[in-house]
Symmetry: C2
DNA sequence: ATGAAAGCGCTAACAT
DNA sequence: ATGTTAGCGCTTTCAT
């Protein structure tokens, strides 16, 4: 079994209080005592039992991060950044997987308190606006993503519509007029796809460029293969276009491959714009012009917001939920140079 | 504050023992009592405090998974699988990031017990065989990967050398003779790169095909960009080859892109073989023939092995470390068809 | 500067 | 079938 305070105290010939004081760096300890305790700690290889400490403190020192799919680079990178941000404040991150399944997501919200964690950072995918009330949970929660707005929980997200509009305006400004959009979700209004499609349409409208439904490529998932399929379909339909706006980078890489297969030069024949700025965007050939949605900021802010909520809730307060929006920027690379 | 057993007991007019019994499904309870308790639980919204339960049980219900880099698809997919396997046995996974940095890895091993977790699944990258003794830690540990062998901890890994040999033999059998290898590490003997290079050489030797150092592409990291760079270098050097064996899939995709840029047809001019069988291998164009290293099995076995070690260590036993090897297989796809 | 002791919320041994 | 109680390892008043 593990060594306890009591055993250290016995060996050092002091009380457990003194050992606790030494371990926790309490200042007023006689140097001699301190040394004896430290020797005993070293000899026995004592490490504090965090579970006991947490029970005493009324917290667990861990937060839960629930993501739909670690296989998508965006989420994998987000996870890495949340872990980093949490680690910086001494919190451990427990990772959960929902597979974007609505039932699993709802179940997670219901059961999350059973996992000994101080709060949840949650990125739903299967749940939608109608499920907003399920976010009214009795523990600290920070929502990510674009599935649910104005819900009863803190929310960290980005200006999807503005960003998509800016991306489209960028393509328009570089002289493109027939901009294909891939990754649309049939009938979606709220959600990354719906919002970004709106931004795209707003930019077209403002520029007086007619919206052509034939330019929209629909696909449920946003993996590389889906982008490839959608692009193949677009080409097969013989639609003309001089630019492609992919609603996420991974999808866009798939589309880019198919374009190149088909002999379309990027950016000469077709300019390509992505969304997410995942790491690979810097290294692809050509490198990908894309929307940087501030995921680092989102990760840090999610952790920060959750910590703040944990603190206020511990004081018995319950301030109204806040929404925090990340800044975005267009990262210009080879696939869509400026005009 | 959260509702406790005591409050539920008070409301239901029973003792906390009875409430505990009900909550834990102890069978012999009078139906009426059970109902009253359940009503009280529901009314107050009681959920057990896991920290207290864990303190009592002497375990935390969580395991730690430490990986070098979530940005690499292989590790992201491995994480997802470990989480799934752990979840199936009721364990939570705490994820840590080492960035493949030796000092961070050593620090992690030292401090891991401070994190309230029952054990560690650890995939080192910066540490090497010389650091084997650092694995002699006083808590349950399962080692992954190919950096350290015969260390003082349980080890779940695969037959790297055999697998690389089989992959090379497959290419030879399909009639290729000039097989470029990319992803080699200068001077490495132990480690994924070193072992796989050895397997490659063994296959060549067995087939009587001379080893040509000019065919070896060196690169430290195994990201897509590294594969692309290495392949560009190979092409620039004017080395002739009719096949490429990439030491991981991600790297191989980068190389494949450059090959296609250069007008080499896959598999007609160059057959391409990867290693890892990440999801994308099914969807790339062409789809990637690769070594399936049994990551699902590795994830499940790592969790299983760790749980077994946790159990024996709790009984005060300390059986010698075990090594468990995953089976591999060659997944034949378009990039390198059978002869 | 240090010790004694209560108590965080839970489970289980022991009673009844 | 249910109640009483000790104790998991720790921190923290309250004494001294």
């Amino acid at each position: 079994m593990a060594v306890t305070l009591r055993e250290v105290a016995e060996l050092a010939g002091v009380s457990i209080k003194t050992v606790s004081n030494v371990v926790n760096g309490y200042p007023h300890i006689r140097p001699g005592t301190k040394q004896r305790v430290e020797a005993a700690v070293a000899e026995l290889g004592y490490t504090p039992n965090l579970t006991a400490r947490n029970l005493r403190a009324g917290r667990s020192g861990a937060i839960t991060l629930a993501l739909p799919d670690m296989g998508l680079a965006y989420f994998a990178e987000l996870a890495a950044q949340v872990i980093e941000a949490a680690e910086a404040t001494g919190l451990i991150v427990q990772l959960e997987h929902t597979a974007g399944d609505r039932d699993r997501e709802l179940e997670l919200l219901r059961s999350a308190r059973r996992h000994s964690s101080d709060g949840l950072i949650f990125s739903p995918l299967g749940m939608g606006q109608d499920d907003a009330q399920a976010l009214a949970v009795p523990y600290p929660l920070a929502l990510l993503g674009e599935r649910i707005f104005d819900g009863p929980a803190d929310h960290v997200t980005m200006r999807n519509q503005d960003a998509a509009r800016a991306a489209t305006e960028y393509l328009l400004a570089s002289g493109r007029r027939r901009i294909a959009l891939i990754g649309a979700h049939q009938g979606e209004v709220i959600g990354s796809a719906g919002l970004r499609l709106w931004g795209y349409r707003a930019a077209l409208e403002a520029a007086g460029v007619p919206f052509d439904p034939a330019l929209i490529g629909y696909t449920g998932l946003w993996h590389r293969a889906n982008g490839a399929d959608t692009m193949r379909d677009l080409l097969a339909r013989g639609v003309e276009f001089d630019a492609v706006f992919g609603l996420n980078d991974t999808l866009t890489f798939g589309a880019m491959r198919v374009l190149q297969e088909a002999g379309r030069r990027i950016p000469d024949d077709v300019a390509v714009m992505g969304f997410d700025d995942i790491e690979e965007a810097q290294y692809s050939i050509p490198s990908l012009t894309t929307v940087h949605p501030g995921h680092g900021w989102i990760a840090r802010t999610a952790v920060e917001t959750l910590i703040a909520r944990i603190a206020t809730q511990a004081e018995g307060l319950n301030p109204p939920p806040v929404t925090r929006l990340a800044d975005f920027s267009i990262i210009v690379r080879e696939s869509a140079p400026a005009a």
